[in-house]
């Protein structure tokens, strides 16, 4: 993959960060569309028939009890199940107008357009902070020092980490605190300039202050990347997400999409009684 200078030089960065532009975003075409997506392992369905649209430049949250298939569904979006021989993804997942399982877009290219942040911070322990941030660009064939330097700085600024690490870029990522490591992973994902950022319970291993910083970050990042976040924390979903998908295990323990809609609607006026039960903490 090659990146043009423009792509690496995010002029968007210099624009003022504005929130609350959801009203405009609904008019633009969805960033991703899921049509009857099912994932099974060894023939056992883990999540079934999910259909919803992910709006651009919004935060979409996936909530639901443990085992309802949130992680499984999220990982189907960047084809991470490709590694698992027993996994099978059915249905259609569209990124813009590309069917991501259709064969026209190689998985490596797809994953440079759809970044991911994991539940536990996973910086590469043998690499310095700097090398971690630019690792994705290097994987994608970018070698020019000037480009890498610029991308590293801009990604670290975006991840609100620049001020605390700019003086020790050569230090190892493992010298950072858990929250900083997670922001390093966010910076690493952002450096590749993805259109979409998948986050699987990104704050579940962090303290409340680090959690708050990452939540603020998500809101700031909305104007340049579409975010899909899995979370167990109801308040977090309410605070950061614009849209919300609620998953629940059905009869055969396969996860199903119960309800999808604007977060305010899901939390204040859900159409399905099961959603209300879950929101009110009656099960799960």
């Amino acid at each position: 993959m090659s990146m043009t200078q423009d792509e690496l030089n995010p002029t968007r960065d210099t624009e003022p960060i504005t929130n609350g532009q959801s009203a405009v975003s609904t008019l633009t075409p969805p960033a991703m569309r899921l049509e009857n997506v099912s994932v099974s392992f060894n023939g056992r369905t883990a999540v079934r028939d999910c259909t919803f649209n992910v709006a651009s430049n919004r935060v979409t949250s996936l909530i639901g009890p443990s085992g309802s298939g949130k992680t499984t569904l999220l990982r189907s979006l960047n084809r991470l199940h490709d590694l698992t021989r027993s996994a099978k993804v059915e249905g259609k997942i569209m990124l813009g107008d590309i069917d991501i399982y259709g064969g026209s877009l190689p998985p490596t290219l797809l994953r440079s357009r759809i970044g991911m942040v994991f539940q536990r911070p996973n910086p590469f322990p043998t690499m310095s902070i700097y090398d971690n941030v630019v690792s994705g660009l290097r994987f994608n064939g970018i070698k020019k020092k000037a480009l890498l330097d610029e991308a590293a700085e801009s990604a670290l600024i975006s991840a609100a980490l620049w001020d605390s690490v700019s003086s020790r870029l050569k230090a190892h990522g493992s010298t950072l605190s858990g929250g900083e490591q997670q922001r390093l992973c966010i910076a690493r994902a952002l450096a590749v300039e993805p259109e979409i950022l998948l986050m699987d319970e990104p704050t579940s291993s962090l303290d409340p202050i680090s959690t708050q910083r990452i939540e603020e970050l998500m809101v700031e990042l909305k104007n340049r990347v579409t975010i899909i976040i899995v979370t167990h924390n109801m308040q977090q979903a309410a605070r950061v997400s614009d849209d919300c998908a609620f998953l629940l295990m059905g009869e055969d323990r396969a996860g199903e999409l119960i309800e999808f809609g604007p977060t305010t609607k899901i939390f204040n006026d859900p159409s399905d009684p099961r959603t209300l039960d879950y929101i009110q903490g009656r099960f799960g």
Binding site: N78, R120, N122, P125, F139, T175, V192
Partner: protein
């Protein structure tokens, strides 16, 4: 090597490099003392062992001095005890064996872990581990009967044509020699390298692999840039153990190296290593020659110990960079 013993070894390796004995809590005192006593006995045994070899070779050192290390002629019949040809042959065969076995071994480990379908993993692994169970003398015979003619008619002429008869594939070929010894050694150390590297590579957290892939890395980039670097400390350990085995291997080498102590001019040269010389000459040796063989044993031990110490320093440095 069995699966269990190899993973234990890996664990011991990593523990030995990072851990230490903590100061005793009162209730642990007896236990602590017994550990100390064990270490003391072990240490004393080693000192005694080294001293006895030193003592055995003392007359050789006093009568030949540094000439034992630097002399280029090893010829007991003329009382020439220069071990340089033997030292060189030992180092060269070990180095070439590692050069062949390390990439093949790492490739095998990566293939077993990341590319083989589940049902093939166990049979292939057992097959490689079976290599460790084959006695040295059988490798020697295999070298003699199978590899010598093949080397002589096929491999050596091919290699010579690659360098146009230039170094290191120059000179007459007859099958025997340093190259054949290196190849036999590489097969012998392969299971060690595979068993240990496979354990340490498999221990690299899956999250790291997914982290790399999620950034758009290809599978091979992930293996080269993330998995191998993360496993490098253990891989060093695997290489060191392999080197230790190659340096000390005796019978198989003695059978295929040509038993001709000379300064090697090419990989096709016949030669003799420190251990193969001790083994082949020990039977008829007495007096000065016996002392000289003792000196060879001492040199071999120093080389092996330095390789281990060097590897330890490297791994320590790598681990420190890690933290």
């Amino acid at each position: 090597m069995t699966e269990e013993s190899s993973s234990t070894k890996t664990r011991l390796l990593s523990r030995g490099l990072t851990g230490g004995i903590h100061p005793p809590v009162k209730s642990d005192l007896g236990y602590w003392l017994s550990i100390r006593a064990g270490a003391l006995i072990f240490g004393a045994a080693i000192v005694l062992f080294v001293w006895s070899i030193l003592h055995q070779s003392l007359s050789a050192w006093t009568s030949h001095g540094i000439h034992i290390l630097t002399g280029t002629v090893w010829s007991p019949s003329t009382s020439n005890y220069g071990a340089l040809p033997l030292i060189l042959a030992t180092l060269i065969t070990t180095a070439v064996a590692l050069l062949v076995a390390v990439p093949i071994g790492l490739g095998t480990s990566l293939t077993i872990i990341f590319f083989l379908p589940q049902r093939l993993k166990t049979p292939i692994t057992s097959l490689v581990e079976l290599l460790a169970a084959v006695p040295s003398v059988v490798y020697g015979l295999w070298g003699l009967f199978v590899l010598v003619p093949w080397m002589n008619t096929t491999i050596e002429p091919k290699l010579a044509s690659i360098t146009g008869g230039g170094f290191p594939f120059n000179g007459a070929t007859n099958g025997f020699g340093l190259l054949l010894a290196s190849i036999v050694l590489s097969v012998m150390i392969l299971p060690t390298i595979v068993a240990i590297s496979r354990d340490v590579i498999a221990a690299v957290p899956h999250e790291q692999i997914e982290g790399a892939l999620s950034l758009g890395a290809t599978k091979s980039q992930t293996l080269l840039k993330v998995v191998l670097p993360e496993a490098r400390t253990g891989i060093f350990g695997a290489i060191t153990l392999g080197a230790g085995r190659a340096l000390g291997e005796t019978i198989a080498v003695a059978m295929v190296i040509g038993s001709n102590p000379q300064i090697p001019k090419s990989l096709f040269s016949t030669g003799a290593t420190l251990s193969s010389t001790i083994a082949t000459e020990f039977g008829e040796a007495s007096g000065a020659q016996l002392a000289a063989l003792g000196a060879l044993a001492l040199i071999l031990m120093v080389i092996t110990a330095s390789v281990n110490a060097g590897a330890r320093t490297l791994t320590r440095r790598a681990l420190r960079g890690h933290a």
